[in-house]
């Protein structure tokens, strides 16, 4: 087993201010960035604040920015860096900082609440839901989400423009709208809620310029842009900008 001394810069501070602090710390074979942060806590700076839980890439707690890239600390192997490299770890830069590596991700919970829930189909009780696998495949891809909010953090719509946070739900929650809109049993349409239109009107889908950073950082490899956002854009076009579809729906409504 080999080990070496790595140079780290870790952001320390809170909402009042802060900065990058230098550390030299031991690294062993097979370790991940989170291990090193824990070693710093154990040996040099016991009050370093960091959020983590599973250390297995499944809880989505340890999101941070490593050398400027949004990543899970527990899934970033030290072996991807050279031994000479200085590794910079900062908190997520899109959300308010609480302390050190911990940010307030409440924005995401707010956005989650703004998406209307699954609407149960009329006339089906518990245990009576039947769905075909091919009908749930699309929604199931989105269910892999571990809510790490790396996509929300990296999306330039809110990262670079605080003022857009009110209007824009972010990739994670536009994907939630897509998940429900593609759900074979969701009865939102019957209850008068048009999810395709509301993605555009209420959740700010138009702000997304499909530059795919959410897809690039998603640790679950969900193809957010291609499979959720662009299909929702196309659905919004059906509702709002396609005169043929609009005409067709008018005629059909008359005749049925």
């Amino acid at each position: 087993m080999s080990s070496y001394e790595a140079r780290f810069k870790v952001w320390r501070g809170d909402v009042e201010g802060g900065g990058l602090q230098d550390f030299t710390v031991e690294v062993h074979d097979g370790e991940v960035v989170l291990d090193i942060i824990h070693r710093l806590q154990a040996t040099q700076t016991p009050d370093l604040a960091v959020r983590w839980n599973c250390k297995a890439g499944k809880c989505g707690s340890c999101s941070a920015e490593i050398n400027g890239r949004p990543r899970l600390m527990c899934m970033t192997r030290m072996s991807v860096f050279t031994r000479e490299e200085t590794i910079t770890v900062t908190p997520l830069r899109t959300f308010p900082v609480i302390r050190d590596l911990v940010t307030d991700v409440g924005f995401n919970y707010q956005k989650a609440r703004e998406v209307p829930a699954f609407v149960p189909p009329a006339g089906l009780g518990p245990g009576q839901y039947r769905m075909m696998q091919e009908d749930v495949d699309r929604s199931q891809e989105f269910r892999k989400c571990i809510e790490c909010f790396l996509c929300q953090d990296t999306c330039h719509v809110v990262r670079d423009h605080e003022e857009n946070k009110t209007a824009f739900a972010g990739p994670r929650f536009l994907m939630r709208v897509a998940e429900l809109d593609m759900h074979p049993l969701d009865a939102a349409a019957e209850s008068g809620l048009d999810r395709g239109r509301s993605a555009q009107d209420d959740h700010g889908l138009g702000y997304c310029n499909i530059t795919k950073c959410c897809t690039e950082v998603c640790p679950e490899g969900i193809r957010i842009t291609d499979n959720a956002l662009i299909p929702m854009k196309e659905r919004a076009v059906d509702r709002k900008y396609d005169p043929l579809v609009w005409l067709g729906s008018k005629i059909r409504r008359r005749t049925t």
């Binding site: 952001w11 201010g17 400027g68 330039h156 719509v157 499909i210």
Partner: protein, 273 residues
């Protein structure tokens, strides 16, 4: 008041408000600028080349090959191409190069394409230049307003792109003639045209709007097995949309350049049979 806690600026980005006080607009250490730089160079080169060729109004036909930039040729000032894609819809008042009429459609298709949008938003407009790299703009409204809201017309350009691909397929069939319009021949140009038309179709079919139209809009795939299969097929191609976008851009320019070389007499089309 400590720095970093001033009231929110309207243009607040990573360096403002209640976010961690870090002065650098980004901390990436990899070569994040490489991809947008290469993309910008590639697109720029194509724009320069195609502008020259589209306005030159010359050397676009060398029997049996017609440049994809000039097909279909819709004005009276077009060269007569034996049984070729001539259709004098515009008549004699059209004075400039007839390529301009038809190029609007593939141009519109590619400009509103979901892949090219990503490419030029990143490389020409730096919005964002790369992931987690701060963009230089004060305000951002994305595709919510005019003019970018017009990107939503992509599906109409897709329909036109189908027609154009149909005409180019016809041209490829015609390229199995020889210089005297006799059938059953094949030259190097025919091969160039074949590769080009396959790539053009693959790019066109892998379009995100196409994926939506053939099946993506459905809620229950299980009730539409044929459309489900079609959606799966387009979906598989769609994962390669970027590669196909570049490959077909290159091949269409090469096909045009090949015609240019033969038409301007640089060399004769080598014949296979």
């Amino acid at each position: 008041m400590a720095t970093g806690t001033e009231p929110q600026q309207n243009s607040g980005g990573v360096r403002t408000g209640t976010r961690a006080a870090i002065a650098a607009p980004h901390l990436r250490t990899d070569r994040w600028w490489l991809a947008p730089a290469v993309t910008a160079a590639g697109l720029f080169a194509f724009v320069v080349y195609s502008t020259w060729r589209a306005f030159s109004n010359a050397h676009y036909y060398a029997a049996p090959y017609v440049s994809p930039f000039y097909s279909p040729c819709l004005a009276q000032n077009c060269r007569t191409m034996h049984a070729g894609p001539n259709a004098d819809l515009f008549g004699s008042w059209w004075g400039i190069s007839p390529a301009i009429i038809i190029l609007i459609f593939p141009l519109g298709f590619r400009l509103t394409c979901y892949y090219y949008r990503k490419a030029y938003y990143r490389s020409f407009w730096a919005s964002p230049p790369a992931c987690a790299v701060a963009e230089p703009h004060q305000k951002y409204t994305g595709e919510t307003r005019f003019p970018l809201i017009l990107q939503n017309v992509h599906r109409y350009f897709f329909y036109f792109a189908l027609l154009v691909a149909g005409v180019l397929t016809y041209d490829t069939v015609l390229s199995f003639r020889d210089t005297h319009y006799r059938w059953g021949h094949m030259g190097l140009g025919t091969l160039v045209f074949l590769v080009n038309i396959v790539l053009i179709w693959a790019y066109t079919i892998s379009c995100h709007s196409c994926r939506h139209i053939v099946g993506g809009k459905l809620k229950h795939f299980s009730k539409h097995p044929v459309r489900y299969k079609a959606w799966q097929f387009v979906g598989r191609l769609n994962t390669r949309h970027m590669q196909l976008a570049w490959a077909s851009l290159l091949s269409v320019a090469l096909a045009d350049f090949y015609v240019y070389l033969v038409a301007s007499g640089v060399f004769d089309d080598p014949r296979f049979f």
